[in-house]
């Protein structure tokens, strides 16, 4: 079993939370996993990104040059389309990312307006969870189990933010269903 994803966006978009949840979920499945955030520059407001790897074997580098699955959440981050492998999957947040370039071959490019979907659902804070669900639905890192997801979210968010979990799960599921329907 081996899975890898790279997620990039602007600070505040909850990109790291997405990666954290995937990794935590993998741990709950007793798999090896690494979560590697960017901490590229000592200042605020820039880009963030993270790489998540899941494997049933020992994981070498937590940093990859090219990745099977890439999610781009903001225009600023679209320089990272280069991260996707030939034949990989590239998911774009089309609410913000209006144009992009990708020179890799055979990449499946999927666009979803995650911000708009969240606004439609009346909660701009769940944008990232819709995107996460969508990614999951499309790439299926592991079988989706609501209990485990709950546990993963709790593990990452902590008791103090427990109250947000139901709405996050809901958003995840919305995205997940959207992703599952995607034909690739």
């Amino acid at each position: 079993m081996y899975y890898e994803v790279f997620i990039a966006g602007a600070g505040g978009q909850g990109v790291l939370l997405m990666g954290n949840i995937i990794s935590y979920y993998a741990m709950l499945n007793d798999l090896n996993t690494t979560f590697m955030p960017s901490y590229g520059v000592e200042m605020r407001g820039g880009m963030t990104h993270c790489t998540v790897i899941i494997s049933d074997e020992e994981i070498g580098s937590p940093v990859l040059q090219e990745v099977d699955n890439v999610v781009i959440m903001s225009p600023f981050a679209s320089q990272f389309t280069t991260m996707v492998k030939n034949g990989g999957i590239l998911i774009l947040n089309s609410s913000l990312v209006k144009s992009h370039q990708c020179e890799k071959e055979n990449v499946t490019i999927l666009k979803q307006p995650f911000n708009d979907l969240a606004l439609k659902a009346g909660n701009s804070k769940i944008t990232n969870m819709i995107a996460l669900g969508y990614l999951w639905g499309v790439t299926k890192p592991l079988p989706f189990d609501e209990k485990l997801l709950q546990q993963a979210m709790l593990g990452i968010l902590g008791e103090s933010k427990k109250k947000f979990i139901p709405s996050n799960i809901e958003a995840f599921i919305e995205g997940y269903q959207l992703g599952e329907r995607e034909k690739i």
Binding site: S23, Y24, M27, F35, M36, P37, Y39, I59, G60
Partner: protein, 363 residues
């Protein structure tokens, strides 16, 4: 302590492990990419009745470490690059004073202000003593978050065993990445009691002194040889390394820390493709596993050293190898984007096998 599986950053693993090891005192100054450690401890140490103090500088931090260690308390500081440089005078004093303490270097890239991306450019500083005079510090190099936890606990024991500072040499990758780790207690390393030397007030006994000044005839020489004996004992009793796929290799990759972790994938892939490659991963950078390298050099023709720098540990590989084998080097000296991928290391292995690289130990 109850064993739990936790998903956290390497930095947090170090901070948690320090508390698990009984460290109640931390002195340090913020610097990326290790500030999680002071931040975590500023919250948690007061909860266990300990003291977190943000010093006014790294110079002050290392001297607070010295002061606290002199009382016999378990104590830690952490920093990175420039901050560790500023600590060199203090580290030299601590080694001279024979004071145990743990110093964490979640190294960044340099020289100078450099950058904060992962690098192994502080290898020389850590292993050769960046400070003045004849001394050594023990250096442990973790390559996973689990080892950030394990080695921190071991580091306290080793510091107390040898009455010597122990450095944990990590980097931004290991500090910032999260992976699951188990909050286990590694096999304890026995160490002598501290009440024969610690400064606690001269109750019912004459005053004591902890110092590194020796002006009497031959006094300092004696002291240095005494320290040296300790270092020799470290070599004998606590040289540690990991061997990975080292059966009958035609080439040995030597790498530590993050570089070793990335190299492991490369080695595995190469093995899968039928190349007889193995990895030797030094865990203690001082004492260094020269002996094991010498043994290997008697049967293996090629050693490929992989480092996240422009070539530092490769000198130790050369010392161990002698002229028996050829030593090759692949370095990615720090900086954003320069962390090598397993593929790149794999390519270097193949190039080395195909004699497309020039050995570095033929002057």
């Amino acid at each position: 302590m109850e064993e739990k599986k936790i998903f956290e950053k390497g930095n947090i693993a170090i901070a948690m492990a320090a508390i698990a090891a009984g460290c109640k005192y931390y002195f340090g100054y913020p610097i990326t990419p290790q500030s999680d450690i002071p931040e975590y401890l500023s919250r948690e140490l007061p909860r266990v009745g300990g003291v977190f103090l943000q010093s006014e500088s790294e110079v002050a931090a290392i001297n607070m470490l010295l002061g606290a260690a002199a009382t016999g308390a378990r104590v830690m500081t952490s920093s990175s690059g420039p901050g560790i440089s500023l600590m060199q005078e203090g580290i030299s004093y601590m080694a001279g004073d024979e004071l145990p303490a743990v110093i964490v270097n979640v190294s960044r890239s340099g020289p100078g202000l450099g950058g904060i991306s992962p690098s192994q450019g502080d290898y020389f500083q850590a292993t050769r003593g960046g400070g003045h005079g004849d001394y050594r510090t023990m250096v442990l190099a973790p390559h996973s978050v689990q080892e950030m936890w394990d080695f921190t606990i071991m580091a306290f024991d080793l510091a107390d065993k040898y009455r010597n500072p122990v450095i944990i040499l990590a980097d931004g990758m290991l500090g910032q990445m999260k992976e699951p780790f188990v909050t286990r207690m590694p096999e304890p390393i026995p160490y002598p009691p501290k009440d024969s030397w610690a400064l606690t007030g001269a109750k019912g006994r004459p005053g004591r002194v902890i110092k590194s000044l020796y002006l009497g005839h031959l006094e300092l020489e004696k002291h240095v040889w005494k320290l040296n004996e300790k270092y020799e004992r470290m070599k004998k009793e606590d040289t540690r390394w990991e061997e990975y796929m080292l059966d009958d290799p035609e080439i040995v990759v030597v790498a530590f820390g993050s570089a070793a972790r990335i190299a492991k994938t490369a080695v595995k892939v190469a093995r899968q493709e039928g190349y007889r490659v193995g990895l030797l991963r030094p865990i203690t950078l001082f004492p260094y596993p020269y002996k094991r390298i010498r043994e290997l050099s008697e049967k293996v023709e090629k050693f490929l050293t992989v480092e996240l720098n422009a070539g530092q540990m490769v000198e130790d590989v050369m010392i161990g190898v002698g002229a028996r084998s050829k030593v090759y080097f692949y370095g990615r000296p720090n900086g954003v984007g320069s962390l090598p991928t397993p593929e790149e290391i794999y390519n270097e292995i193949i190039k080395t096998l195909k004699n497309e690289k020039v050995p570095v130990n033929e002057f």
